[in-house]
């Protein structure tokens, strides 16, 4: 125990001796910590929100054109392709999902802003969202839509407007009625969402042909092996369509944002930069500490202290800085996460795995700084002391 305790105690006493330097060091670690938390938070939020719509889809297998990069920018394919899968005995039901971006007119300001429109047969129950399920009957009516109340506030306070009886607006310059709200959430691709019936979708987009679909949703009979049916269907289908399981669809959406879009790289880069800045600050603090205590360390060496003891002192200092910087960094980030959730409507959960990941990053950062700094310990040579 004394093997670590004594050097750690010396490290602690050195740290608290110079309060100004300690505070500077803590701010360095805190800065890195907050930066990494925010970068990872935005990145995870991006992935989570990108997958928010597909993750609420209710189906076993999904057809998508091979040229579709992601659900928000789909390439359409023939509905007949989807219908062919009905030939498989395990397939219970198939439904097309129509997806398109369209300008939505704010009821109060009349400013138009683009949102995502999903169209499908309401009876098919393609979305596993309570209000969408419950209002499938009302959605059958002509010129009706449901509005996502988690859309960005620029679309107007729809819920309050509905309560006040103002429910008429335009999507894609087509006049219709909002008959209720549901809860989904925004993504980087869409600032808002509405769902409507397949027939209303064709009215909103008059040039759209019902035979051209963006996504095909297949439901299987209970007990069917999804993997097996997927393999059998893929040999049946044209080569230009992908057939995904639910998990594969989510993964495909996520991969688009991490790889095809440079966003994964941008956040990764931000994370690395935060760690580098923190590393340099911690290294500077450790380095100057060693330089300042050079003679004292050399004296202790002359008295029989071994080199390893001072290495442990340096690592203990770095460890304390990591802890002291991480705790306020975590608290500050928690606040910023809440701010982000309330102000920009991005889901930013502070998950336990994220906390441990960032702590591990900060710890590695401080350990690396120690590795760089301990070379300076060679200057504490007792033979040069006399």
């Amino acid at each position: 125990m004394t093997y670590l305790y004594f050097p750690a105690r010396l490290a602690w006493r050195q740290l608290v001796h110079d309060r100004t330097k300690l505070i500077a060091a803590i701010f360095g670690v805190l800065f890195a910590c907050v930066l990494v938390f925010m970068q990872l938070g935005f990145k995870d939020s991006l992935y989570a929100s990108a997958a928010s719509a597909p993750s609420r889809l209710s189906g076993d297998l999904f057809l998508m054109h091979k040229q579709s990069e992601a659900m928000w920018r789909p390439v359409n394919f023939k509905r007949s392709e989807l219908m062919r899968t009905l030939g498989h005995p395990a397939v219970a039901q198939v439904s097309p999902l129509y997806i398109a971006l369209a300008p939505f007119k704010n009821i109060e300001t009349e400013v138009k802003r683009t949102l995502m429109v999903y169209g499908f047969n309401p009876d098919a129950q393609l979305f596993d969202i309570n209000n969408v399920r419950n209002m499938h009957g009302e959605l059958q009516l002509k010129d009706t839509v449901l509005f996502d109340e988690y859309s960005r506030p620029e679309f107007g306070p729809i819920r309050q407007l509905l309560e006040a009886g103002q429910n008429v607006t335009e999507i894609n310059d087509y006049k219709l009625k909002i008959i209720g709200t549901f809860q989904l959430g925004v993504s980087f691709a869409a600032d808002g969402n509405v769902v409507t019936s397949d027939l209303n979708f064709m009215r909103i987009f008059p040039n759209k042909k019902p035979g051209d679909i963006e996504l095909g949703v297949i439901k299987l009979h209970p007990g069917a092996s999804i993997k097996q049916v997927q393999a059998e269907l893929s040999s049946l289908l044209n080569e230009f369509v992908n057939i995904f399981t639910f998990e594969e669809l989510l993964e495909y959406e996520k991969l688009y944002w991490s790889n095809t879009a440079p966003i994964g790289f941008i956040f990764g880069f931000g994370t690395v930069m935060g760690l580098v800045v923190g590393l340099v600050i911690v290294y500077q603090i450790l380095f100057t500490d060693i330089a300042n205590y050079r003679n004292e360390f050399a004296t202790l060496k002359a008295m029989g202290y071994q080199h390893g003891y001072f290495i442990r002192v340096v690592f203990a200092s770095a460890f304390f800085l990591a802890i002291l910087g991480f705790i306020p960094g975590y608290i500050l980030s928690l606040g910023l996460y809440h701010l982000a959730e309330s102000q920009i409507f991005m889901p930013m959960p502070m998950s336990f795995s994220k906390v441990t990941t960032v702590f591990f990053f900060i710890l590695s950062m401080c350990a690396t700084a120690s590795f760089l700094a301990i070379r300076k310990l060679k200057d504490a040579n007792p033979a040069d002391m006399f």
């Binding site: 608290v16 004292e296 004296t299 002359a302 008295m303 029989g304 006399f386």
Partner: protein, 225 residues
Amino acid sequence: MPALIDVHNLDFSFGSGELTQPVLKNVTISINKGEVVLMTGPSGSGKTTFLTIIGGLRQASNGSVKVLDQQLINSTEQVKVKVRQQTGYIFQQHNLLKPLTALQNVSMTLEMHNHMTERERLTQAADMLKAVGLGDRLNYKPEQLSGGQRQRVSIARALVGKPRIVLADEPTASLDKQSGQDAVGILKQLAKELGTTILLVTHDYRILDIADRVVELEDGMIQNA
């Protein structure tokens, strides 16, 4: 009486090839247990180099240097560390750790000895500080102490581990006459009580009277062994 420090025909030089600079030439000296030996001589005479070789801080390769029955010529690091742990050092600068109190600084010497409890260490350190006349300054940090007091703390630090040898390099050089004499007086008195051998290198002729023996080193050679 057996010699605690036994040096035979020690040669030492800095550099290599044409730039070789001999520092110690054929030095032979033996110091007995409990002896207080002062080594004087002009700057550059090799006194300090000699001290660092005896203390196991510098590797020499010619001759024989036996300290506490360990041969230090071409020795391993372990042998040198073993010698260092039984040696107390006093430097011209006190080299006390600024963040630590006098008590904590002195107690650092005892932290190398694992068998003691924290309470034992602090008691022994406090006793030693009382012995050097700083019983009322236990919890002062170095910057709250005067130069003479600091040097007395470093004397306490050197002696608290009950070393068999104390090596001192110009311990009075940064002190005024009175504090200097007080410091070495305390050093000698405590060393005699503990039976510690002292090898003290100095320019300071005001403190020659504490020595059992004075050795003069000039150009790397002992003049009056």
